[in-house]
C-alpha cells in the first residue's frame, strides 16, 4: 500500500524489469539511502583502498586485514637454494635428536609463524623454551625434551632442479629448563 502511494507521489513506474533481473516475479521495493549513508560507505571504501595500497608499497602485514599480499611474492632463483625450517628435540637416552612436526599439534605453533620471526628466535633462543613447554603439555605421557634445536634444510637448485642431498644447518639450540 505504502509502495503504491509512494509510486503515485513520485510518478514512478513500477520497476518490473529490476524485479525480473533479481530472479523473481514479485514486486521490489528499492530502499533509498540517505546522503550520509552513501558518503560514509564510499569514504570507508576509499580509506580501506588507500591503506591496502600503502600496505603493498610499504611491504607490511601490520595493517591486517589490509596488509601486503606477500605469500609467494619473492622471486626464487632457479640456481638458488630452497630453505625449509625444521624443529628437533634431543630426548634423554636417545643417540640423536628427533625431528618433530613443526605444527600446532606438536609444538604449539606453525612453521610459518616461526619463519616469520626467525631472526628474533635465533637472537633469543630462550623462545624455544615455549615450544618445549607446549610439547610437554601436548604430550604429557612422553619424555620431556632435553634440548630444542631449530634447524634448516637447504636444498641446492641447479636450473630449477635439486642437486645432491639437502644440507642440514643448526640455527639455534636451547637447553630445556
Amino acid at each position: 500500500m505504502d509502495e503504491k502511494k509512494r509510486r503515485l507521489l513520485t510518478n514512478r513506474k513500477p520497476p518490473a524489469d529490476a524485479a525480473a533481473s533479481a530472479g523473481s516475479a514479485t514486486a521490489m521495493k528499492p530502499k533509498p539511502m540517505t546522503k550520509w549513508s552513501i558518503m560514509w560507505r564510499l569514504g570507508a571504501t576509499a580509506i580501506a583502498l588507500v591503506i591496502l595500497t600503502c600496505g603493498q608499497f610499504l611491504n607490511t602485514n601490520d595493517f591486517f586485514p589490509l596488509g601486503s599480499l606477500t605469500q609467494y611474492a619473492t622471486a626464487k632463483d632457479l640456481d638458488g637454494e630452497v630453505n625449509s625450517t625444521c624443529i628437533e628435540a634431543q630426548f634423554p637416552g636417545e643417540d640423536e635428536p628427533r625431528r618433530l612436526g613443526f605444527n600446532t599439534a606438536t609444538v604449539g605453533i606453525e612453521r610459518g609463524d616461526i619463519e616469520s620471526q626467525l631472526d628474533r628466535v635465533i637472537a633469543h633462543p630462550e623462545l624455544l623454551q615455549t615450544l618445549a613447554d607446549s610439547y610437554e603439555r601436548l604430550h604429557p605421557d612422553e619424555p620431556k625434551p632435553e634440548t630444542m634445536i631449530l634447524c634448516r634444510n637447504v636444498t641446492q637448485l641447479e636450473n630449477g632442479q635439486s642437486v645432491g642431498e639437502p644440507e642440514h644447518k643448526i640455527l639455534a639450540t636451547w637447553e630445556v629448563q
Binding site: P30, K31, I38, Q161
Partner: protein, 300 residues
C-alpha cells in the same frame, strides 16, 4: 542496471530527495547497486557457517597460541587497542562466543547484534591467529565480508524481490576485496622481486613443491619449464582479475569457476586451499535464485 537510464537532473525531480539524486552518479551507482536482500541473507549463511569451520580448522591455532604468549607479535590494530596475548581459557571462551554468534547471524536471528558480535569476536580471533608471526593473506576478503555484512541491516531469506543499495555496497566491497587479493598479489610480486620477469622465470613453484608439495606433484619438479609456464599464467590471470568485477552472465560464472579450479589445483598440489577467499567468490553470484519461489515474499 535497474536504474532509469535518464540524466541525473531528471532523476532528481522525479524522486524529490537529494539522497536519491546522488544515485545518478555512475560511480556511486556502481559502488551501491540495488541488489536483492535475499542474496545477502544467503551470502550471510555462506560466510558465517564458514567462519565456524575456519575457527575450528584453518585458524584453530589460537588455542595453542595460548601456550606460547612469548611469541605474540601483535599487529598494528591489536597494538593500538592494547590487546594482550591470548590465554588458553580466553581462546576457548572466544571460540564458544564465535560459534554462538555465527549461528545466530547465519540464521538471521537478532541480525544486527549477532552480526556485530561476530565482527568483535572473530576480529579478536584473527588478531590471535595472525598475531604470532605469520600473516595469511587468504583471510582478507573473509574478514572484510564479516565487517561489512552487519551494515546491510535486516535481510531476510524471503526478501527476494526487495532490493537494497546497502546490500549492494556490502557485496561490492566483498567482490573488490576478492579481486584485489589476486591483483595486489601481482603488485606485491613486482615490488618484492624488483623485476616481475624474475618471478615469472624463477623457481617459486619449485620452492613451494619442495617445501610442501604432495607426493603426486613431485614428478613436476623434473619439469621446471612447465612450472615456469604455470608461473607466467598465474601472473596473467591475477593481473587481469579486476575484470571480473565488470563481467556478467556466463562470462562471470566462467571466471568464478576458473578461479575455483585454480584453487582446487593448488590445494591438491600444495595443500594451499585458500578457502576463506574461495567462499567469498559467492558474492559474485545471484544467490537469491536459490530461494524457492514459494518462500519468496509476495507483493505487498
Amino acid at each position: 542496471m535497474n536504474k532509469p537510464a535518464k540524466p541525473a537532473p531528471k532523476t532528481q525531480t522525479l524522486t524529490g530527495t537529494p539522497a536519491e539524486a546522488k544515485v545518478g552518479n555512475p560511480i556511486i551507482r556502481w559502488f551501491t547497486p540495488q541488489i536483492s536482500l535475499a542474496r545477502v541473507a544467503i551470502f550471510r549463511v555462506f560466510v558465517y557457517v564458514f567462519v565456524i569451520i575456519d575457527v575450528l580448522t584453518i585458524s584453530a591455532d589460537v588455542i595453542p597460541h595460548g601456550w606460547t604468549p612469548d611469541l605474540y607479535q601483535p599487529l598494528w590494530l591489536a597494538r593500538f587497542l592494547h590487546i594482550p596475548p591470548v590465554s588458553v581459557l580466553g581462546a576457548q571462551i572466544l571460540l564458544a562466543a564465535i560459534i554462538v554468534f555465527s549461528l545466530l547471524a547465519a540464521a538471521g536471528i537478532l541480525q544486527r547484534i549477532s552480526g556485530w558480535m561476530v565482527v568483535i569476536t572473530f576480529g579478536l580471533w584473527m588478531f590471535y591467529t595472525q598475531g604470532y608471526g605469520y600473516v595469511a593473506h587468504d583471510h582478507m576478503a573473509l574478514v572484510i565480508a564479516v565487517v561489512v555484512l552487519p551494515t546491510v541491516g535486516i535481510a531476510r531469506f524471503r526478501d527476494v524481490g526487495t532490493t537494497s543499495a546497502k546490500a549492494g555496497w556490502a557485496l561490492r566491497v566483498v567482490q573488490i576485496s576478492v579481486v584485489l587479493t589476486y591483483f595486489y598479489s601481482v603488485v606485491m610480486k613486482w615490488i618484492a622481486s624488483g623485476n616481475i620477469a624474475d618471478w615469472g622465470n624463477g623457481a617459486v613453484i619449485v620452492w613451494a613443491l619442495m617445501r610442501r608439495g604432495a607426493e603426486w606433484s613431485k614428478p613436476f619438479l623434473e619439469m621446471p619449464g612447465l612450472l615456469i609456464a604455470g608461473q607466467w599464467a598465474t601472473l596473467v590471470f591475477e593481473f587481469l582479475s579486476p575484470i571480473v568485477l565488470f563481467l556478467k552472465g556466463r562470462w562471470l560464472y566462467g571466471a568464478v569457476v576458473f578461479f575455483l579450479l585454480f584453487h582446487l589445483m593448488t590445494y591438491f598440489a600444495l595443500g594451499i586451499h585458500f578457502l576463506p577467499t574461495v567462499i567469498c567468490w559467492a558474492a559474485f553470484l545471484p544467490l537469491e535464485k536459490l530461494i524457492p519461489k514459494r518462500f519468496a515474499a509476495s507483493t505487498r
